[in-house]
Symmetry: C2
Subunit: 495 residues, 2 copies
C-alpha cells in the first residue's frame, strides 16, 4: 500500500516532532554517510524471520529506538508538556491523520513508525518531572533496558526448562526481599505476579488453605463461615477475595485502631464466624498511612489469625535506614505484598507475594497435572514454579528488578486542599465544604487541558475532594513541586 | 567499582559472542568515527534524569539494542542451538563469571551490559525455528516493537486520564474481536488481562453474578451451592475458580461428549446443586481438541446455563477462513477467553476476556470507590476501565496487538510416540507401555543437553508419555520438522 500525499505530509510533520534525537541526529549518523532508510516499501513480511530480513529488521528497530529516545528526552524536559490533552471523541475522529482504526490491508513500516510516534505524542508522559498523578511514576532507564530485554527473550516463568536464568533470578531476588523483611534464613517463599490484587488474592488463598486444607478438595461448603479484617482505606486489592468472607472496616485518619480490631474479632466470633485473616496496610493509597504492625501482630497471635501486610506501596521504605521504622513488626507477618513497581520505581508490572512458611504456596496451589509438569525430567523439578502459581503462562517480571538492584543497591504522599481566595475568609462549614469539593476537579480540568503538570485528587470519607501529591519520581526536583503549587494557585485563585 | 581482570576477559569473550551485529558492526558505526563507548566508568546515576545524562542514556540503550539485535539474529539461525543447557547448580555457581547474586555496591554499566548478554546466552531461544516446546513461540518483530514502546510509555490501563490512546485502542481491538466471533454490533464488552487463568476467572465471576447478583454484597453463603461443568483436558485455567462449585469432568479423546454433559447436569440437579456454567474448550493444551460448540450451546440454552468458551489457544483460528469452522457456535457463547499471545504469535502477555452482554463486567466488578475514580472529571468517565477490572494497576497489553493487526490483517498440535527399534517388535501391552513411558524423558534429556531443538512431552489419562509438537512459530519450516524427527530418531533409536 502506498502512502497518500496527506499521509506523507503527516509523516514529515511527525518526524519534525521527534525532537533533537529524531532522524536529524541519530537516524542519519549510525549508518555513516547513508541517508535515512525508506520504510514505505517495506512491510512486516519483509522482516525476520523472512530470508534477507536481517537488514530491514535492524533498521526498523533502530528507527523505533530513535523515536523512543526522542520521547524519553522530551519527557524529561520541563519545557515540554506532561500531556497534550484531547477528549475521547477527538482522538477517535483521528487527529492530524492519526487513525486508531484497523485497516483491511497491511500498513507499511513507515506508517507503523508514524503510528508509534503518534501513540507517544497523544499519551501521558508519566516520567515527566511534573507528573504527580499516580503511585507508579518516573522512567528508570535500567528498568527500561531490563524490560526491552525481557520482551526480546519472550519466554515465560512456567518452568526452569524454558526460563532457567529468570527462574534462578527470581529465587535470588525473593531471598533478598525476605532478608530485608527480617525473616530468618530458613523461612521465606514467594512469587512474582501481575499486580497487588493478585498478591493479596494469594494471601487469602494461603491463609484459608493453611487453616482448612480441606477447602482445596471440598470447596467452601466444607468449611465454616470465615471473617477477614481489613481497614477501610485499603486499596481495592482485597475486595475481590471476598467470597464467603465477612469484612470489618476499622479506621480513623487512615490507620487501623488495634483496640477496635480486637473487639471486632470478638464480635465476629460471637456471631458464629471464624476469624482467620487480618490485612494490615503499610502505605495506604490515598494518605500513605501505616498501620501499627506490632500491635496487630500481637492481636493476630492471641487469636491465632493469619497476618498479611499489604506493603504494595510502602514496601520500598524497607530499603531506607531512616524510614523502615514505619514498618516495624512486618517480620511477624505470615505474608507480605510488596510491589517494586510502586515506590521502587520499577516499570509496571512488578509485584510480589512473599510468604513466610516454605512450601505452602506449592501445597496450596499445585494441581499435580502431569500433562503440565513432567516429574520425570532430568533436572530438579522443584525449580518449576508453575505449580506455585495460579497462572499458567506467567510474564517475566523479575529481570528489570534484578538489573536495577545490581545497578543501585541503595534508595510519600502529601494530601492537601487548595482554598481559593473567596473561600479563605469563610469558616469551615458544610456550605464551604460543598464549594471546596468542586475546586479540585475544576483545577484539574484546566491543568489537563493545558498539560504542564498532573496531580490526582479524590474525596475520602468525610473529606471533600483534596489533592494527593505523590513523590516517587526520581526526575522530580524541588522546583517542580514549587511549579505545581504555583500552577494550582494560578488556575484556582479565581474559583 | 572497577572490573577485575577476570571480569574484563569475560566481557571480551561475551562481546565476541554477540555475532555479526555486535560491537564490530553497528556499535562502532552509529557514532561515525568514534570508537565504541566505554561504559566501565558510567553508572546508573549518570543516566537520565541526571543532568547531562542524555548522551550516556543514548549510548547505553543503543548498545543494549545491538545486543538484542545480535540475539534475534542468532535465535533465527539454524546453525545456532536452541539452548545451551546447564543444571541449576551450575548456573548458581556462576558460569564464566556470570553471577546471579546481588552486589553490595552498584555495578557499572559495562557489567550490566555483560549481564544482559549472559542472561540471553544461558536462556532458551523461544523464537528459534526448532523450538516446538510451548504454545507461545516465535518472536514477531512488530509485536516486539510494540512491547518496547509500551515499556517506554510505562503507563497503566487504569483510566482514560493516564492512557488515553491505549484505552481507545483497547476498545477498537475488542470491537474487532467481537465482530470476528460473530456477535451483533450492539453486543460485546471485554478487557485485556494478564493471562488465560484470569480470563476464565472473570467468566466464572460474571456467570455467578449474572445468576445471583446478591453474591456481590452478601457472599457465597447467601446463594445455593453451584455446579460448573468443564472437560477434563482443560488447561489448569479453570481450577482455581472452584470456590464452592462442583466439577464435572467429561471427555473422550479430548472432546466433550454432549450427551454426557446433559446427564451430568441432570445428576447435579438431582443432588440439589444449581448448575450455572459450562466451560467448553476450543483448542485443548495437549491434543488441541475442539469441543462441539453448537451442541453445547443447545444444552446450555435448554438448562439456562452460562456458556463460556475457553479459546485461549484455538481463538486464533477464527482469523482463518479455512479453519474457523472448528469454532462454529462460538457466537452463541456468553463469554470467550482468547489469548493473542498464543496462536496469533503476540509476545506474552496478551490475553482477553470477551463478554457478550454489555455493562455486565462493570456491574459485577465495580466498587464505586470515589477515591479511585472521580465521577466529577471533565471527560466521559465511561472510558475509565479500572472499574471493569479486578486489578488496580493494569499493564498495557493492547498496543503490540494493535500494531501487529495493522501490519498484517490476514493469517496445531501433533501428538506422537516414538518407538525405539527394540519396542517396535513388541505388541502393545502394559509392559511395553511401562518401557515406552520412559522413552520421551530420556530423549528430551539428551535433546536439552545438546540444545539443538526443543519439544514438550507429557502423559495424559491412560496414555503414557508422548511428544507434543506445536506449530505456531512463523520461523519454522518443513526442514525444521524433518530435523526434529531425525533428532528424535538419532537420540532414541538405541533406547
Amino acid at each position: 500500500m502506498e502512502l497518500t500525499q496527506a499521509d506523507r505530509q503527516h509523516l514529515d510533520k511527525s518526524k519534525q516532532d521527534t525532537g533533537s534525537l529524531g532522524n536529524t541526529d541519530v537516524g542519519l549518523k549510525y549508518d555513516s554517510g547513508r541517508v535515512a532508510h525508506d520504510f514505505s516499501c517495506i512491510h512486516s513480511k519483509d522482516l525476520l524471520p523472512a530470508e534477507d530480513g536481517e537488514e530491514a529488521t535492524k533498521h526498523f528497530l533502530q528507527e523505533l529506538v530513535n523515536i523512543l529516545l526522542a520521547y524519553i528526552n522530551k519527557s524529561l524536559k520541563r519545557s515540554s508538556k506532561v500531556l497534550d490533552f484531547h477528549y475521547p471523541h477527538q482522538l477517535k475522529e483521528g487527529l492530524e491523520g492519526f487513525s486508531l482504526e484497523l485497516p483491511d490491508q497491511p500498513d507499511n513500516l513507515e506508517q507503523l513508525l508514524v503510528d508509534c510516534r503518534d501513540t507517544l505524542k497523544y499519551g501521558v508522559k508519566t516520567g515527566h518531572p511534573r507528573f504527580f498523578n499516580q503511585l507508579s511514576t518516573g522512567l528508570d532507564i535500567i528498568g527500561l533496558a531490563g524490560e526491552w530485554l525481557t520482551s526480546t527473550a519472550n519466554t515465560n516463568m512456567f518452568t526452569y526448562e524454558i526460563s532457567p536464568v529468570f527462574i534462578l533470578m527470581e529465587e535470588v531476588v525473593l531471598r533478598k526481599m525476605h532478608s530485608i523483611i527480617g525473616w530468618p534464613e530458613e523461612d521465606g517463599d514467594g512469587i512474582f505476579c501481575p499486580g497487588g490484587t493478585m498478591s493479596n488474592l494469594y494471601s487469602v488463598l494461603l491463609a484459608r488453605f493453611h487453616l482448612f486444607p480441606v477447602v482445596k478438595t471440598h470447596g467452601m461448603s466444607a468449611i465454616p463461615r470465615l471473617a477477614l479484617f481489613t481497614s477501610a482505606h485499603v486499596h481495592n486489592l482485597i475486595i475481590f477475595t471476598q467470597i464467603n468472607t465477612t469484612f470489618w472496616f476499622l479506621s480513623v485518619r487512615g490507620k487501623m485502631i488495634s483496640s477496635e480490631l480486637n473487639s471486632s474479632i470478638e464480635t465476629a466470633k460471637s456471631k458464629g464466624l471464624v476469624p482467620f485473616y487480618v490485612n494490615a496496610t503499610a502505605g495506604t493509597t490515598v494518605y500513605g498511612a501505616f498501620d501499627p504492625l506490632n500491635e496487630i501482630a500481637d492481636i493476630c497471635k492471641h487469636h491465632g489469625l493469619w497476618m498479611h501486610v499489604d506493603a504494595a506501596w510502602g514496601g520500598g521504605l524497607l530499603l531506607s535506614n531512616k524510614h523502615r521504622v514505619k514498618l516495624q513488626g512486618i517480620e511477624r507477618a505470615h505474608s507480605v505484598t510488596w510491589n517494586p513497581h510502586k515506590m521502587m520505581g520499577v516499570p509496571l508490572q512488578c509485584s510480589t507475594i512473599l510468604v513466610k512458611k516454605k512450601g505452602l504456596l506449592q501445597e496450596c496451589n499445585q494441581l499435580c497435572a502431569e500433562y503440565l509438569f513432567q516429574p520425570d525430567k532430568h533436572y530438579d523439578v522443584s525449580y518449576d514454579t508453575g505449580d506455585k502459581s495460579i497462572q499458567c503462562g506467567r510474564h517475566v517480571d523479575v529481570f528489570k528488578l534484578w538489573l536495577m538492584w545490581k545497578a543501585k543497591p541503595e534508595h510519600s504522599n502529601v494530601c492537601f486542599w487548595y482554598l481559593p481566595k473567596r473561600l479563605q475568609s469563610i469558616l469551615p462549614s458544610p456550605e464551604r465544604d460543598r464549594e471546596l469539593h468542586m475546586v479540585a476537579p475544576k483545577i484539574k480540568t484546566k491543568m489537563m487541558e493545558e498539560g504542564f503538570t498532573m496531580i490526582g485528587y479524590q474525596p475520602l470519607e468525610d473529606k471533600v475532594n483534596f489533592f494527593r501529591c505523590v513523590f516517587s519520581n526520581p526526575a522530580t526536583q524541588r522546583e517542580d513541586v514549587d511549579f505545581l503549587i504555583d500552577e494550582i494557585v494560578r488556575l484556582g485563585c479565581e474559583l
